[in-house]
């Protein structure tokens, strides 16, 4: 006879340990990232600068350049991985990622149009967000009401709309004046060089992650299939709609912060499932943390590995993620 209470306690510990480890890893990755850069700063110099002491130069480098970028990198990774995990549950398709439903396509077209019009900074981010929101509404409207067996319809609608955005992106790139091309390509590959305002991303990431945890049980049931979930008393239609809207919001904010950073949303949740199993109460917050770590470390490399040349962060996330993922897959837990 299994005592129900003790089982609950075991589960809680099984969730708590990996999360605590990942939080530690997250803090370490951000500390590492803030201490690395073209200007060699000792950890104590960084600490002084964070407290508003030390030379003006050190303070500028840490407070104006590094810290906003590190915080943006972490939040972007967290948002994308969380959105990916949600999309994979919603679509019950292991290939789903935050971009599969055309959200980044809509954001990209809007952002490239903004670059073409010479808009910068907040105006460009705003356009990207509007593009992402428009694309979401378009997919949602065209796919019709989410209901039994409708995720296939949603997936197809999204994929086709994404292909349409892709064609528009190519058109804009072909017509763009040469001096605007580098900026556009960097944006499409994901780039944190412009990320100065991490606060929006954090304001979305933290509450959403926390609020999703109580939904974990229902999401676990949904992941097994809508019929089962409905039979066990889950409001499938409402939950699917919520998941879709939340995942879209997360993606829109991520894309607005750093352009379309690829690969994180697809691979981070899968990696975690290979190691930690498929309990959404654990996988969702773990994805947010691990995604944040991956992009933070990747961006640290992107701005230092061949400095002074700067790489787009998307290149590094893929180069780091692919071998890690293949290794985990080969180790054979799935």
């Amino acid at each position: 006879m299994l005592d129900v209470r003790s089982k609950a306690r075991v589960t809680r510990r099984a969730i708590f340990l990996p999360i605590a480890l990942l939080v530690l890893l997250a803090v370490l990755s951000m500390v590492l990232s803030v201490t690395q850069g073209s200007v060699a700063l000792s950890p104590s110099a960084v600490w002084q600068a964070l407290q508003g002491q030390g030379s003006i130069l050190n303070q500028t480098v840490v407070m104006e350049l590094r810290l906003p970028r590190v915080l943006s990198a972490f939040a972007t990774g967290g948002l994308l991985a969380l959105a990916g995990a949600l999309m994979q549950i919603l679509l019950r398709n292991p290939l789903a990622d935050p971009y599969v439903l055309g959200i980044s396509g809509g954001a990209s077209v809007a952002a490239l149009a903004a670059i073409l019009l010479g808009l910068t900074g907040l105006l460009m981010s705003g356009m990207a967000f509007i593009g992402a929101a428009l694309s979401t509404l378009l997919v949602f409207g065209l796919a019709g009401q989410l209901s039994h067996n409708s995720t296939l319809r949603l997936l197809l609608t999204g994929v086709v709309i994404a292909a349409g955005w892709g064609a528009l992106i190519t058109l804009i790139l072909a017509l763009a004046p040469p001096d605007k091309l580098p900026g556009m390509l960097y944006w499409l590959m994901g780039d944190l060089a412009y990320a100065h305002t991490p606060w929006l991303a954090w304001l979305v990431l933290v509450p959403v992650t926390v609020l999703l945890v109580p939904l974990g049980r229902s999401l676990n049931l949904l992941a097994r299939g809508p019929m089962q979930a409905a039979a066990l008393g889950v409001n499938v239609k409402g939950l699917e709609r919520l998941v879709f809207i939340v995942a879209s919001l997360l993606t829109a904010v991520a894309v607005t912060t750093a352009g379309s950073v690829g690969f994180v949303g697809l691979v981070v949740p899968h990696m975690l499932r290979l190691v930690l199993g498929n309990d959404q109460r654990l996988i969702l917050p773990a994805s947010a943390l691990a995604g944040g770590c991956l992009v933070t470390l990747a961006d640290t490399l992107a701005r230092t590995v061949i400095a002074p040349e700067q790489l787009p962060v998307g290149v590094i996330t893929a180069l780091l993620g692919v071998p890690t993922f293949l290794y985990l897959l080969q180790r054979g837990r799935v």
Partner: protein, 301 residues
């Protein structure tokens, strides 16, 4: 006693120094940059960051090469520029490294550098001067402006004068020359040229050439081979990234119906002499003018 003298000297120096800012303020140096912004410095710039290969050439031409502390990739001329610390490519700057070099003047490339990064530099209080020459006159003006900001007016004005005179001499020499329909090939795949607005086209005109794509809508139009055959240029001039791309020109030999192919008027002009708006444009122009003269000499009548 010694100590007293030193103390007295300190006071004297202090008094003198307190006068310096006032004097300098009276001599604040102001110029108008290529974005029509006024850029003012209280004292000559001593630590200059040049964020495009062209800006680097111009600041050296202005006589202030020794004051340059930061350049970007491909800043290969003059050779001394290659020894200066690079702060990344012009499309993505390593801002940390740039700020660590503590520049007191930034020469930015309006359409080349990412505007967000330049805005960050402005936000941090660095004086930014935009370099974006479109005409021969702009090149000379930029040299003078940079010399004013860097406190090297005599050198800068002399170099600007030399450049203006060189261009004027070519202008005078070729103003009556027989026009030569010319295709300037910027790139081969995709095939690209320039329209009449571009300074490369202005060099072609200077030498009495007629850019066959002067009427194109876009500054750098992308073209098909077909439209080149249609315009049937008498001369094809190739540029490109490297200094050797004979195969670009060889490719045109496949079209014997082209006038340029028939008369063997397929010419190479080193791209760094003609594709950068710097004083070296004068050297590029001299070579191009000579090539167009060759083409005129090959005319059967």
């Amino acid at each position: 006693m010694m100590i007293k003298i030193t103390a007295f000297a300190r006071i004297l120096i202090g008094l003198l120094l307190s006068w310096v800012p006032l004097g300098a303020h009276a001599e604040q140096r102001c110029v108008i940059d290529d974005k029509a912004r006024e850029v003012c410095l209280d004292k000559p710039a001593q630590r200059i960051a040049a964020l495009s290969p062209g800006a680097t050439e111009l600041i050296f031409a202005a006589g202030a090469g020794a004051q340059v502390v930061a350049v970007v990739s491909y800043s290969d001329y003059p050779p001394a520029a290659q020894q200066i610390t690079s702060v990344g490519s012009h499309t993505r700057l390593d801002l940390e490294r740039l700020i660590a070099l503590q520049p007191d003047l930034v020469l930015a490339w309006g359409t080349g550098n990412p505007s967000e990064q330049i805005d960050t530099l402005k936000r941090l209080g660095l004086p930014v001067y935009y370099v974006e020459p479109h005409e021969f006159g702009d090149i000379a003006d930029n040299i003078v402006n940079m010399a004013v900001l860097a406190g090297t007016e005599p050198e800068g004005r002399a170099e600007a004068q030399r450049f203006r005179r060189g261009i004027a001499a070519l202008q005078q020499r070729y103003q009556g020359a027989a026009p030569v329909p010319t295709f300037y090939q910027v790139w081969d795949s995709p095939l690209m040229s320039t329209n009449g607005e571009h300074y490369i086209s202005k060099v072609v005109s200077l030498c009495g050439g007629e850019n066959v794509f002067a009427d194109a809508d876009r500054l750098i139009p992308r073209l098909s081979q077909e439209v080149v055959l249609l315009r049937n240029p008498e001369v094809i001039v190739a540029g490109g990234m490297g200094e050797r791309n004979a195969h670009w020109l060889e490719a045109w030999r496949a079209f014997p119906e082209l006038l340029a192919t028939q008369r063997d008027n397929l010419f190479f002009v080193p791209p760094s002499l003609i594709q950068r708006p710097t004083p070296r444009l004068l050297d590029g122009a001299a070579i191009l003018c000579e090539k167009l003269d060759q083409a005129r000499a090959r005319r059967p009548f």
